[in-house]
Symmetry: C2
Subunit: 170 residues, 2 copies
DNA sequence: GTTTATGCAAACGATTTGCAGTGGT
DNA sequence: ACCACTGCAAATCGTTTGCATAAAC
């Protein structure tokens, strides 16, 4: 059930070129449909995002790219991320407190997050049960589900014995 | 299963004095335990919050109080809300995009929210099933649950036939 | 060629913080 | 009296926007 766990942000890793080009197709179609353009910056960002295995903030992307000697304007990043969300490549994941966290969801198993209130470690878990539950809950209200966000705050195994931290869900 | 629905923010309503004084006790104890003080501003805010039946933002509180001719500094509000969250009277609820939403949870049934992506209507629903589910999911990871946040985005009954809006979960 | 995108820097808006004065305890 | 709290205004910080230039189509 546990899919993985994470700590660092937006660390670029080896890319599956196959996946990249499939994602690029998705993006290309999405853009064409609305008369938008597939610029080199958008391709760069798409690559960077698919390469990141973790949750990241817009700023992380900027830094990560700079370290690779690639310069992309901050505004471009902020303007591009919503596009990628909209075409289903990216999703906004859990929120720390009042800032945007993203993770790519292209080809990855749907999941949600547990976040340790002490060490901030993030543990992912399969969300299929929640997916069923959300339908069951929405139906009697005549509500049509588009998406959900589910996050659990608490103490991870390692922090359970350490000093307590009361803050429930920042 | 459906507990209610909401639209406007922080509209003061008639208060159950009994509830107010119980809540005040909770707050008083919480403060005393850490050498903090029960000021008149904190009492004012507690009252205002208990009186609000809806989800609200810090700014809503400020405005609502001003309308009643009560002046409380914005900073005081921002400094007080986390205290109330910490002592369990308040909770941070769903987040629009990157701002803080609160609702009081003193004596109210635990619930989560469905939010219509078109009209922003909020529908509350009982969260007991989610509470069981979160334990089931946390246990194998050795994770101790403190709290969760669950929100469903989609189309409410009324908007289902109106113009579509793609944005999944802002 | 036309139109959308980029990069920069300025603008924004929510939240936070420093500080002098006020008020619980 | 002491120390925390308030209010104000200034400071932060993530995010958005305006505009001149560059790049897709």
């Amino acid at each position: 059930m546990n899919v993985g766990s994470a700590k660092d942000n937006a660390v670029p890793t080896k890319l599956d070129e196959q996946t990249v080009s499939r994602a690029e197709d998705v993006l290309r179609n999405y853009l064409r449909e609305r008369g938008l353009k597939l610029t080199s910056e958008r391709q760069t960002l798409l690559r960077a995002i698919l390469g990141s295995q973790e949750h990241f903030e817009p700023e992380d992307l900027l830094v990560s790219l700079r370290q690779q000697g690639i310069r992309v304007g901050k505004a471009t990043i902020y303007r591009t991320l919503p596009l990628l969300v909209d075409c289903g490549i990216l999703r906004r994941a859990f929120l720390g407190q009042n800032r945007a966290y993203y993770e790519h969801c292209f080809g990855s198993m749907p999941h949600d997050h547990m976040i340790c209130t002490i060490c901030s470690r993030v543990i992912e878990f399969d969300s299929s049960e929640i997916r069923q539950l959300r339908e069951r809950v929405a139906e009697p209200a005549g509500f049509t589900v588009q998406s959900h966000r589910f996050q659990i705050a608490g103490l991870c195994r390692e922090c359970k014995t350490g000093p307590q931290n009361p803050s429930p869900m920042a």
